[in-house]
């Protein structure tokens, strides 16, 4: 259990691991996540399940190495075991026949979007996918997503692929072209989900976003992941992670995700220092 059986470096700090986890693979559905600890002293961090294979009993996780926890995770090799792996957590995405659905993914959020795109297509929706990244080489799962999309559009910040600009620029053009859109799903960085939600609100297109706050337990007992949705406080882990994008207080979410920024820095410097000393 929890053994890494495959590992790919998608781009510099962007890594993909396939982990043996038969029970999680058996019960996972699109939109759900796992809580991972890389080692005994590690944090519990949530990572969305990018794919699962019930027959092989494996799940795929894609993550960007940013801080200590993701760097520790990225340092594990095939044959290593995760110290702790728990899931599938959160509510599965609502997969129904909406009609035409636009799936917007940004950065590493594209990985979380993939199983949702696949399920929506299989449900009989017309799926238009819009993927965004800073630059071409950071674009992930393009082929997988295109396999289940009727149309695929791309935006990069530097224009190295697709349209130069943001996913919202592509989405706006699509809406203004008169395309009838029944539902939008957005998964990615908070500013992207916020911008998409603001745009679709103007056009009154129902929008679902998948939130990624700091978590500890992942099962509704600690409340570290609480977010403001409308007038209510919700726990992203058990009430979400998907919410109505028009009701989410993204500014509050952004601030909450900054709350340990200082400690994260201290931890990272210490980790990098010990890594460096270990290599000498």
């Amino acid at each position: 259990m929890c053994e890494i059986i495959d590992k790919k470096i998608l781009h510099e700090n962007l890594k993909q691991i396939v982990v043996k986890a038969p029970l999680i693979a058996k019960h996972a559905n699109p939109g759900q996540f796992v809580i991972v600890m890389a080692d005994e002293k590690g944090e519990r961090i949530p990572i969305t399940i990018a794919d699962y294979d019930r027959e092989e009993g494996t799940i795929t996780l894609i993550f960007l190495e940013i801080g200590t926890s993701t760097k520790k995770l990225g340092s594990l090799e095939v044959g290593d075991k995760l110290y702790s792996l728990c899931g599938p957590l959160g509510n599965p995405s609502k997969i129904e026949k909406f009609g035409t659905v636009v799936c917007v993914g940004g950065g590493v959020g594209v990985a979380s979007l993939y199983p949702i795109v696949r399920a929506l297509k299989r449900e009989g929706n017309r799926v238009i996918s819009i993927l965004g990244a800073r630059t071409k080489s950071l674009l992930i799962m393009e082929k997988e997503i295109s396999n289940y999309s009727d149309e695929l559009m791309i935006a990069t910040d530097d224009g190295s692929k697709g349209k130069k600009g943001f996913v919202t620029d592509v989405l706006r053009e699509l809406i203004e072209s008169g395309e009838r859109i029944d539902h939008v799903i957005a998964v990615g960085p908070i500013p992207m989900m916020k911008a998409v939600s603001e745009l679709t609100k103007k056009y009154r297109i129902k929008t679902t976003v998948s939130l990624n706050p700091i978590m500890v337990c992942g099962m509704g007992m600690c409340g570290a992941c609480r977010v403001r949705v409308g007038k209510e406080i919700k726990f992203a882990c058990v009430d979400g992670p998907e919410f109505d994008g028009h009701k989410v207080d993204f500014d509050n979410l952004m601030k909450r995700n900054q709350r340990f920024v200082e400690e994260e820095g201290i931890s990272l410097v210490r980790y990098l220092d010990t890594q460096w000393k270990g290599e000498v």
């Binding site: 944090e43 007992m221 600690c222 406080i233 709350r259 340990f260």
Partner: protein
């Protein structure tokens, strides 16, 4: 022969020293003191103390064994009813249970039953456990959901009777509230681990990282096991429902304690999970959990730790001993006051608390006098961290996944006196049936359910 009227003191770490560390505060009796304290016991024939014990330990018998230096026998007598005496000896509210029934109360202080229980349990831990022989293995399989006090009790009882028992724990380490909730300085985690090892040695299998309803379905469990016990506890934090609770620096007691205890944030950055408290911490509430939070805050670096409570000291739900420990360590109490809102800065960090003075009115349904706000008595104080410790409810994660399970409005599972739920073959006990209560009452419920499960399976 006259009996000494007062208990022998149990040595404690000096308050000035102890707030710098997470070392255990109470140090326990040595052999001679334990024997002297045991000699205070009157050995009443009708054993009133046993009536006060939720699991019915034969208290006079184990005290007699201590008196006669038969420590091994003393442990054996306790373990007939309670598999984890090193834990209950530390966290049981004895003053409201066995000790309040003691005849010595008429002339002075009761026998220090808890300290004696702790003494023999620690004596055994140092010596190494004796694992009782399990006579006949039975083929019937029992699943236990949750590895806290209720789950441990039901699992070890059934294992001793020969059943094939598997515990499913949602977190990455077993122990439930003993691990994530109660701080190291009150209950060293090494002890929890040893007591869990004892339960494993009885043949109980413990699977961590399994959330029933998520990792496996309840129906799958039903197919594989002949009976199921739900002891998932009360893990859902209550909130005040006032403005500013979403600010950075406002924690639920569960988040604060889980970070520090389970994730060992007090050893950050050696451990990766951070905690930040700043200079001034306010804990809302005055139960045992609130005392744990306020005392923990001092140990992770707070200069000032306050407790704000809407009633007076007399109504504090915490054990008297815990209130005293907190006071000794410098925790300051704001009685008859209640927060109305928390104030944040532009970064979303909490910087202030507005609160209002309260007075006590007529008794409410709980029998305690109802706190009433005094109009126009608001003040604001500067704060860096707020911890909300006003109680927990059962987490609906499991119960919502089980069709046909009768659950009350507050999330607790409806059970009869034997722990039977509305579903045949499904039992429950502990905080998930009562709301947040004590370790020992959860164990008592587990033991009663174990009997009912045996009845059901035979």
């Amino acid at each position: 022969m006259s009996v000494r009227k007062t208990q022998y003191e149990m040595p404690k770490l000096d308050p000035k020293e102890r707030i710098k560390t997470f070392s255990e505060v109470a140090l326990g009796y040595d052999e001679e003191t334990a024997i002297k304290e045991a000699e205070r016991c009157l050995q009443c024939k009708d054993k009133p103390c046993v009536k006060g014990c939720p699991v019915g330990i034969d208290i006079p018998a184990f005290i007699k064994a201590i008196r006669e230096r038969r420590f091994e026998d003393a442990v054996k007598i306790i373990k007939e009813k309670n598999p984890i005496p090193a834990i209950t000896g530390r966290v049981c509210p004895q003053e409201k249970q066995c000790q309040c029934m003691c005849r010595l109360n008429k002339i002075g202080e009761p026998v220090a039953i808890g300290r004696l229980e702790r003494f023999v349990a620690d004596w055994e831990r140092r010596k190494g456990y004796k694992i009782p022989k399990i006579e006949k293995k039975k083929s019937k399989k029992v699943a236990v959901i949750g590895s806290g006090p209720a789950g441990i009790a039901v699992a070890s009882d059934l294992a001793l009777k020969g059943y094939d028992v598997t515990i499913f724990e949602a977190l990455h380490e077993p122990g439930g509230v003993l691990l994530y909730g109660i701080p190291e300085f009150r209950l060293p985690k090494e002890i929890v681990r040893q007591e869990i090892d004892y339960v494993k040695a009885l043949g109980v299998k413990i699977l961590c990282n399994v959330i029933v309803g998520k990792t496996i379905t309840f129906d799958e469990l039903r197919k594989e096991f002949d009976a199921i016990f739900i002891g998932a506890g009360a893990g859902l934090p209550r909130w005040l429902g006032i403005p500013g609770e979403e600010l950075n620096g406002v924690y639920s007691a569960n988040e604060f304690l889980t970070r520090v205890n389970l994730m060992r944030a007090y050893r950050f950055p050696e451990y990766d999970t951070p905690i930040r408290v700043g200079k001034r911490v306010v804990t809302v509430g005055a139960g045992n959990v609130a005392m744990d939070c306020a005392r923990t805050a001092l140990r992770v670096g707070a200069e000032e730790s306050f407790i704000i409570y809407r009633r007076s000291r007399k109504e504090c739900p915490a054990r008297e001993e815990e209130v005293e420990n907190a006071e000794e360590e410098g925790v300051r109490f704001m009685f008859l006051a209640n927060p109305v809102r928390f104030i944040g800065d532009e970064k979303g960090n909490v910087v202030g608390m507005e609160y209002i003075q309260m007075r006590l009115g007529e008794p409410d349904e709980s029998g305690r006098r109802r706190p009433i706000p005094i109009p126009n008595s608001n003040s604001v104080m500067q704060v860096d961290t707020v911890i909300i410790a006003i109680g927990q409810r059962p987490n609906p994660l499991i119960t919502s996944m089980i069709e046909g399970l009768e659950v009350r409005k507050d999330g607790t599972i409806v059970v009869d006196e034997k722990g039977r739920t509305s579903i045949d073959g499904v039992f429950a006990g502990g905080d998930i049936t009562t709301g947040a209560a004590t370790v020992i009452s959860a164990m008592g419920a587990g033991r009663r359910a174990a009997e009912a499960i045996e009845e059901y399976l035979s």
